[in-house]
Subunit: 358 residues, 2 copies
């Protein structure tokens, strides 16, 4: 097993992100010095890979956006109480991004904050959701509208867990991989282009190389901006469009990474039009999305998911107004002017928006 250690320094803690085949076995080591450990686990992951920790109280949940509700949060908090967790205990989130988001939020609230260990089990969660300490649930009004910043005690990215991902989950993860690569710059993007065939074959070595590269990019960004007041927002590349898509489609109808993929294509077109970004970046983006099996346009997305009735220009425009990162009535965009050259806080004209959302 090979693993890398990446240290992030938040306002009050340091933690390691370990990447490697079989690294989730390290969860056992996190029991030392704890009075209790409990696990919030994706039912499907434990069915495929077995329980993370034998003997630890485990709440098995159905992963997905429908988990990230006030009800789901209440159940997770009651599980912490029923497991007798104290401020010296550890909660482990063992699952994809939705399990990590919920587990992180429950841990940050239970007794006003206990430690959480993240063991992300999807490509999307390993490259994105596990790093940075953002936790959230959805409100009826919008996605991720309630949450906290709660840095984990550690993150274990076990690439063995990725071999059982189905094609849709893998592709969805590749959406975030491609986003991260564009932010990282030409070298990261070239690496992803080169390894995409092996990634689609679930080659463990390629997966570990890509996860590590993406975690490094994300760590670099997060380190510079712990509470998302500034530069961290480059990570929202393509996300204003993606959130609008998810809002219009209904939470969970389109996988996050798929929405991000289309968002990247839309952002690329917008960048060409407003920032004079080179067409070559748009081409690289669209070609990579295509090779990853992701829709490259709203049209392709509507067709692939049968959402022509939901993803109307008007519904998407409404979704943009609900995006939590933007100001009231004036959505803000993050666009790439080139590989590794990302601009934040941009507003787009109504004409261009209408054209892009058509």
């Amino acid at each position: 097993m090979s693993s890398v250690s990446i240290s992030l320094t938040g306002e009050s803690r340091r933690y390691d992100v370990l990447v490697g085949a079989g690294i989730s076995a390290d969860a056992r080591g996190h029991q030392h010095g704890r009075d209790r450990v409990a696990v919030l686990a994706d039912r499907r992951v434990t069915a495929l890979h077995g329980p993370l920790l034998d003997g630890a109280p485990t709440l098995e949940v159905e992963a997905g956006e429908s988990l990230k509700t006030m009800d789901g949060l209440g159940r997770a908090l009651e599980f912490c109480a029923a497991s007798g967790l104290s401020r010296r205990s550890l909660l482990i989130a063992y699952g994809g991004g939705t399990v990590g988001d919920l587990g992180g939020l429950a841990a940050s609230l239970f007794k006003r904050g206990i430690d959480v260990l993240q063991v992300p089990t999807t490509l999307l969660a390993q490259v994105d959701a596990s790093v940075g300490g953002k936790t959230a649930i959805n409100l009826p009004s919008g996605k991720n509208l309630a949450g906290t910043f709660h840095q984990p005690a550690g993150v274990l990215c076990d690439t063995n867990l990725l071999v059982t991902l189905d094609d849709a989950e893998l592709s969805s993860g590749l959406g975030e991989v491609i986003k991260t690569a564009i932010i990282g710059g030409d070298e990261t993007l070239t690496l992803v282009e080169r390894l995409t065939p092996q990634l689609l074959d679930r080659d463990p070595a390629a997966l570990a190389e890509i996860v590590e590269a993406c975690v490094r990019v994300k760590a670099r960004v997060v380190l510079s901006d712990h509470e998302e007041r500034g530069p961290r927002r480059v990570l929202n590349l393509g996300h204003t469009f993606a959130h609008a898509i998810e809002h219009a489609a209904g939470f969970g109808a389109v996988p996050h990474g798929v929405a991000v993929g289309v968002g990247l294509a839309l952002a690329a077109h917008a960048s060409e039009r407003t920032l004079g970004a080179p067409g070559s970046l748009t081409e690289r983006t669209v070609r990579l999305l295509d090779r990853a099996g992701l829709p490259c346009s709203l049209e392709a997305l509507r067709e692939a998911y049968g959402l022509a009735g939901q993803l109307t220009p008007a519904a998407l425009r409404d979704g943009l107004n609900h995006d939590k990162k933007g100001q009231v009535g004036a959505p803000e965009f993050v666009l790439a002017r080139g590989e590794g050259d990302v601009i934040m806080g941009l507003h787009l004209g109504e004409d261009l928006l209408s054209e892009l959302l058509a």
Copy 2:
């Protein structure tokens, strides 16, 4: 109008606690530089004193422990969303401790944290809940089991709002006043003894003097221990017993300050027995509780609230095990060895506990 400014330095912000007759009018000044301001208000307070801010969206709620649930939190968060609040907005909590707890928690979660202004309207909230940044809701398993530390943008303690408190609310507040005075030391305790008659007459000058003195004591403690890992726990004097009483009686059946009062008497007896505390402190405590119209013993409490069937020794013992500050199975107590001399992290023997809870 006279007011005092007390600056607390948390890990990332400073804020002022202003105390004075009519000081809630300063809420208008907090609108400057905000895109939106919304108010979470106790329905009874607005009925008595009018809306805090004309024209601001206001969610009127029924105050009390029943407000501090996952449902109540969901409604408060949806109100933030419906009011179009952004990260540059302000939520104002206008009410007693339960409104402040819920408003503070909703503000700390909405969009991962927006500012909250606390305008506490009860004596209990002004002397205690408004200072220190603790927010919480209850879980079915226990009181205040889910929450955050979220320092407010400011606190306005308007003593004009206290003149409409009924006797029960005023007495409940005096429970926390007496606790704070014991922690503060002989000078504060003597001040409270001297002013108790005027406090019971709702004399505005006396109220302002006491609130200010208590806020200063609490600020001194909180300043030294922002996240409640150490010295801040002196503020839990009497509270292990109080939480057990509230747990056994059912949340809301006994006002918090009343439970704290009985907890102070029990703690005083326990201090005499285990720490050799002078009987004179027990006498001062019991005499003050009595003059404030508060029950001074479990027996008096059972009789006053008709809770003989609920506040059984066994139910109280069970409640102690649920106290969130303690370790699993071994409740921790905070006791005063003398005026201003408070000891934390004490365990009491089963024999003594049985005797105290009889």
